[in-house]
Every structure is written in C-alpha cells, then in structure tokens.
C-alpha cells in the first residue's frame, strides 16, 4: 500500500486495528484471514467469456477496476468509495475501502430498471469495488451483481454496497459470488428502507476459500419490508462467515431473513445474526432463520441467531437447525424410482431453492438456480 498518500480516510485506516480474536463479532471466525496488511493492489484486468445476457437488463462489465462496457441513464461510474461503515466487526476493512476504492457504480432511479453488473477478477491482489443503489420514491429496480474469476490467482475482493430505498421503492438485488477457490471475498452491505419500501436481497456464495460478509439492514419507515436471503454452498476447505443485523428503527416494520447453507467436504459456515428492535418500534415483525444441511462428516456449522428486543408489541422469532438430508424424503424419492444419489442431490437443491424462491422473480430465480446447479455439478 502506498505510504505517500494521506487523507482523513487513510488516517482513520491507520488508526484502527485489524480484527482480533477478542472481538465478539469475530467469535468462531478466522480473524487472521481479515488481516490484509501484506496484500498488494491488483493489476490490470483481462477479458473473458461473459455469461449469457439477461433479457431487458443493461449490462456493465468491469475488468478488475476498469469499466469496459455499459451505459444507462440511471447509472454513473464512481471513482472513489462512498465511505462504508462497518458495524459488525470490521471497521478497519471499511476504512480500507473508504481510503482506497477507486471504482464502482451509482444507480439512481425513480423508474423501472434492470441493471446487471459483472466484475471480472483477474490476477493476484486487492480489488475494491463500490456500489450505491438509490431507489427513489416509487422506483422498481432490479440489480444483478456477479463476481467471476477469470483465472486461478488468489485475488482479494473487498466490496461495499449501500442500498437506499425511498418511500414505496422496490428493489430486487441478487449477488452471485463465483470467484475461484484461491480467492478471498469480503462484503460490507448496508441497506436502509423508508416507509412502504420493499427490498429483496439475495446472495449466492459458491466460490472463494474464505468469505466474510456483514449485512446491515435498517427499516426506518412504517410498512417497510426487508427480505434478506442467502444460499451458501461451501465445499473442501471453504469457509463462509456471515454476520447480519436486522435493525427496526420505526413502528410497523417487517424484516425476514433466510440463510440456507449446504455444506460439503470440509466446508465451514458461521452465521451470526441479530434482530434489533428499537425502543418504541412497536408493531415490528421480524424473523430470522438459518438452516444448515450437513452433507459430510467433516463439515462444520456455527450458528448464532440473536434477538435484542426493546419494545413489547412485537412478533419476533428466530430458528436455526443443523441436520443431514431427511431419510424420510430420500425414501420417498427412491420409492418413486429415483436413484439414491440423484434423490440426495434433488433434495439438497430443493433446500437451496426454497431461499431463492423468496425473491419472487422468475428471471433472478433462474439465474440463481443456475449458479447453484453449477456448484452441485462441481461438487459431484
């Protein structure tokens, strides 16, 4: 990292410590992985075959930090970070993003739009993309963001996203993390919803050897609805560490989180989630579910679902389960003539599909399921 540049952001970065074992938000986590002090900036990107176009969506393609194609009236390129905040254990990483991010997009619209962003990641080193989504009153926005490796080099992607929904805005936002198995992926995601706004965010994790994701959702206006979905499919030595915060800052708000992990090989997941209801935020409905489907004897799942409730007129619940594929379901499928291996895979894919279906958007669901399918084929 360059030592000559100084800025308030850089000073802040210098003053903070890398994550440590004693930080509660890193419980069970591999905090050493988050120390990026020896990672160099990534070099120039490279072209690659792009996935099939999505009908009706404007496509933007980045090769590493460089925007090589895409234009749309609602989208403007960013040349610096919007300055993310980490409230879930990684202020140092947020400060790093704030100080060093040099590319990204801002989407601002009050209309009905579909935007697809592809980040092609090439070579070794640190890449710091930004995304800001401003869905203005009444907007209907659909955003797809994909992270794809073009080679097998160990990249580190530290990305931050800020999603703002004004009154009655609707956003459906799907992220697919399909990096190679040598890379690291860190994502700091923040969203804030005003009244009657509706956000559906989903992330599919299939790649990277280590993932740290901090998702903070605030519902600040009555009748706002925040849906947070995740499908993670760790295999071999992959570790996915996801921390979430569902903040209810106003009366009559709704949030629903569903995380589905299917663990193969020595895959490891960490889920820590908190529903936080402010004093006076009566009429809150908040739900949080983390389910782990254990496919091998060597996988490992840690779940820390949490509630902090400071208002009494609320409906809140969380649930967490860990289990293998149900023998009853397998028997049922086999009794219809389906081979045991296929039966197991069908049930497991169905398990992921349940989360994806909550997007209620056929096009996004189809894309998400395709990414899931590919991982299943690779594990096979």
């Amino acid at each position: 990292m360059s030592a000559t540049l100084t800025s308030p952001a850089l000073e802040k970065f210098d003053s903070l410590d890398w994550p440590a074992r004693t930080v509660e938000n890193w419980r069970f986590g591999s905090w050493k992985e988050a120390n990026l002090s020896s990672v160099q900036p990534i070099g120039a990107g490279a072209p690659a075959d792009l996935p099939a176009e999505i009908e009706g969506a404007a496509r933007f393609v980045f090769q590493n930090g460089e925007l090589i194609s895409g234009s749309h009236e609602a989208v403007t390129p960013l040349s610096e970070s919007f300055g993310p905040e980490s409230r879930l254990g990684s202020p140092k990483l947020a400060a790093l993003h704030a100080a060093k991010s040099d590319h990204g997009l801002t989407i601002t619209t009050s209309g009905e739009e579909s935007i697809e962003i592809i980040h092609l990641v090439t070579g070794e080193g640190l890449l710091l993309p930004s995304l800001v989504i401003n869905a203005q009153a009444g907007a209907q926005l659909r955003v797809i963001q994909r992270f794809i490796s073009t080679d097998e080099a160990p990249a580190v992607v530290l990305t931050a996203v800020d999603v703002n929904l004004a009154e009655k805005a609707e956003v459906k936002y799907l992220v697919t993390q399909e990096l190679n198995l040598a890379s690291k992926f860190i994502r700091i995601a923040d969203s804030c919803l005003q009244s009657s706004a509706n956000a559906k965010q989903a992330i599919i994790h299939t790649g990277s050897k280590w993932v740290r994701e901090e998702t903070y959702s605030t519902v600040d206006g009555s009748d706002g609805q925040s849906h947070i979905l995740s499908v993670a499919l760790p295999d071999s030595d992959q570790e996915f560490d996801q921390r979430t915060f569902q903040h209810h800052g106003s009366r009559d708000t709704y949030s629903n989180l569903l995380f589905k992990n299917t663990l193969f090989g020595k895959g490891k997941t960490i889920f820590s989630g908190l529903i936080f209801v402010d004093e006076g935020a009566h009429g809150t409905d908040a739900y949080q579910t983390c389910r782990n489907l254990m496919m091998t004897d060597h996988c490992e799942a840690h779940s820390m679902p949490g509630l902090e409730i400071n208002a009494d007129d609320v409906k809140c619940s969380h649930g967490s389960t860990s289990a293998r594929v149900s023998e009853e379901e397998i028997f049922y499928l086999m009794a219809r003539g389906i081979q045991p291996k296929l039966a197991r895979s069908l049930v497991a894919k169905g398990f992921s599909a349940e989360a994806v279906e909550k997007l209620e958007d056929e096009m996004l669901e189809a894309l998400a399921l395709k990414v899931v399918e590919r991982k299943f084929a690779a594990v096979d």
Binding site: H298, A301, M304, P305, I309, D313, S320, S322
Partner: protein, 473 residues
Amino acid sequence: MNSETATVQQVALEKDDIGNFSFPENHKFDAGYGLSKDTIDYISKVKNEPEWVNEFRHKALEVFESKPMPTNWATEDLNAIDFDAIRYYLSDGATPKRSWDEVPPEVLETFDRLGVPEQERAFLAGVEAQYDSEAAYSNVKEALADEGVIFVTCSEGLKEHEEIFRPWFGKVIPTGDNKFSALNSAVMSGGSFIYIPKGVKVKHPLQAYFRINSENFGQFERTLIIADEGSEVMYMEGCTAPKFETATLHSAVVELVAMKGAKIQYITVQNWSSNVFNLVTKRGLAHEDAEIRWIDCNIGSRLTMKYPGVVMKGERARGEVISIALANDGQHQDTGAKMIHAANNTTSNVISKSISVGEGRSTYRGQVHIPKHLKGCKNNTECDALLINPKSRTDTYPAISVKGNQHVTQHEASVSQVSQEMLFYMQQRGLSETQAMSLAVNGFINDLVEEFPMEYSVELKRLIDLEMEGSVG
C-alpha cells in the same frame, strides 16, 4: 409518582417481605472488608483446613485477580461490584448443628419464618440451612445415612470424605473457568457435599437453604454432588436475603457428577432481594446413560448470570435445562444453558421461558457444542420470551456449533406479548385485568412449573402472581 409505579413498589415490598427481615449481627468470626491473601488464610484457619485446600485457594485468588471482568460480552452493571466493600467470611463457627434445638435462637427464628424446619418434617430427606458463610444446621434422615448417603457441608466433605471428594472437586468446573468461579474457589465456604452410593434411589428431595443476614457481605457456597452408578437424587435449593441499601454478592459454584446410569435433578428457586448480584457457575458431568437435569427458576436478584451446563461424557448421556426467569424493574436475569456433547448418541434439551415486566430485562445465552467424530447427537432448544410492558426488554444470544452430518440440532426462539384478544376474553368472563394477566403469564410457563415438585410449584405460582400485580393498568 403515578399510581402504577406506586403499586409496583408496594408489590416489591410485599414480595421482599418473604425474606425481608434481618437480625443484628452476632458473628464470632469476621474476615473483615476486602479480599487479600490474609483473608484466605483467615478463612482456612477458622475452618481448620488441610494444606492442599489453602493452596487451592491461593492459586484461585491469583486467577481471579488476573482475569478481566467479562464486560466484552456481559453487562456493564458488573462494574458496579466493589470487591473492597464486601466481607468475605462471617460465621458463628464452622460446624453445623444436627438438631434445630442447638441452633442459636435468631437463626432458628429466621429459618422458621422461611418455613424450612416445617418442610423438612413434611417431605424432605435431608436439609442444610446456611446462614451467611456457614451452615447452621445440617441433617439427613437416618434411614438414608444407613444406606450410605452422605449429605454434609462442603467443608466436612473435603476433610472427612477426601477419598471420594477430592477426585471430582474442581474437575467439572476448573478454577479458571471464569472470573467468578475463581473468586468462589478462593473464598468458598458453606454449600453441600452429597454422595449417593451405587443403586441408591433417594425418594424424597434433599434441600439446601441459603440465607444472607448481613449487609456488605458475599456468600460463596460450594456444592459437589456425586451420584454413583445407577443412583438417583433430587436436590433443591432456595435462598433469600433482606433488602439492604448496598449491593450484596452471591457467587456459588456447583459441580454435579452422575456416574453410569445415575440421575441427578437439581432444582433452584432463586428469590434473592433486588440488591443481590447473583453470579453462579453450575455444571454437571454425565457419564454413560446418566441424566442430569437443571430445573431453574430466577425471580429475584439485581443481576443474575447463570448458565447451567451439562457435559455429556458417556454414550447415551442426557442433559436438560428447564429455566424460568422473571425480570421486573431494576432486574436483569441473564440466564441460559451450556450443552457439551462429548460422546456418541448423547441428547440435550433446553427449554427457557422468560417474562420481562416493567423495565426488567431478561437475556438468554446458550451454547451447544457437538464436536467432530461423534454421531447421533441431538439438541433441541426452545426459548420463549414474554414482554409485558412497553419498556420491557429481552435478548437472546445462542451459539450452536455442529461438526459432521450425523447429528440433529434445532433451535427456536420467539418473543411475544400477551394478546389483547386473550385478555379481553378473560375480562369479558369477569376477571380483572391483573387477574387476566397473571393467568396468562402462569399459562405461559405452566408446562415448566409442572417440572418442579408440587411444594415448590405452588410457591412459584404465588411469587409470580405477586410480581404481576401492578404490572398492568
């Protein structure tokens, strides 16, 4: 002051009336204020302890002093404890009486008012009554003693039954488990040692009653219960203290050992006055086919931190925590459970229900741990919280770690309030709002109350009714 808070305070007074009285201090032995090496030597000397116990205490003091307050995850209220303003040992002598007739009059009157001798006659197999630092009375029914059941104070246990006591003492909960287990290990006094011989099934419960009489005092009882192969025992503990202006500290360590096929039930009704910091470490070790159940009810104290645990060390061992917590104004019930699965086909179950009233706060913390290379482990956890008033507060922080695909874990938690519809229905049938609320709350915990012995469940329901008075309106 509005009428609502007035009623709440009246109720609080009435509630504390159960144990809210005290006698002038009349101690022969007083270790004085503050904690140092001298305090420990003083305690050892009064108790005439073997050298190894004194050494154990000194090591524990070092651990206590080296450990920070756990405020990185626990409440900042812990910082309100002034360890220098506490007296660590107050007693009239270290040997308990075997007959109530020999107990000093004010101590006898205390336990009479709390109903202890009466309960002993009615349904208990043995009783220990602790007054400040030492048991004033300890006795077990002759028939049980004849079968080889040992029920003595911890001090007697470590001296007179060292060969059974020492191999397990400090093994289930090591000194350094946490700051308060270290504190207890340094200044422990009182508590029970129980040994149930092979195959002996004790039909009636054994009971301990812990009474704090003195101000600026800390009670640090230590209990070890060993149930040998195939034996069964139920142990119950109750406690009260007068409501002093200053903070009082209660920090116990309880270790349970259930050998192959043994069954231990440990029942607590905690009703400390609302100036007591109640910081307790409780854990059991369950061998093959053994079962340990913690049945725990926390109604009193200013801050309770207690997470009873079971280490399931033998195949098919079972662990259970049944927990009721009620937090009223100025109270924080920070309770939970720890389930460590260390053998195949072990099963654990946690059911926790909490009620937050007024500005009370209840917290559930749980840990379920199923490490690698095991199979057939099961955990079920259910935590339900009921919030009564707009400023009532509840938190839930479980952590479940599972390795491998041979296990099933399930955790569910919910937060709710008493439905207006239900209250209306009951009021339409002629109940007052308070009665309706009490009924609803009793209904919420009813299935758990039934796990307590009848004599306790009646008392529990009464305590809860008292807490609910003035909570609505």
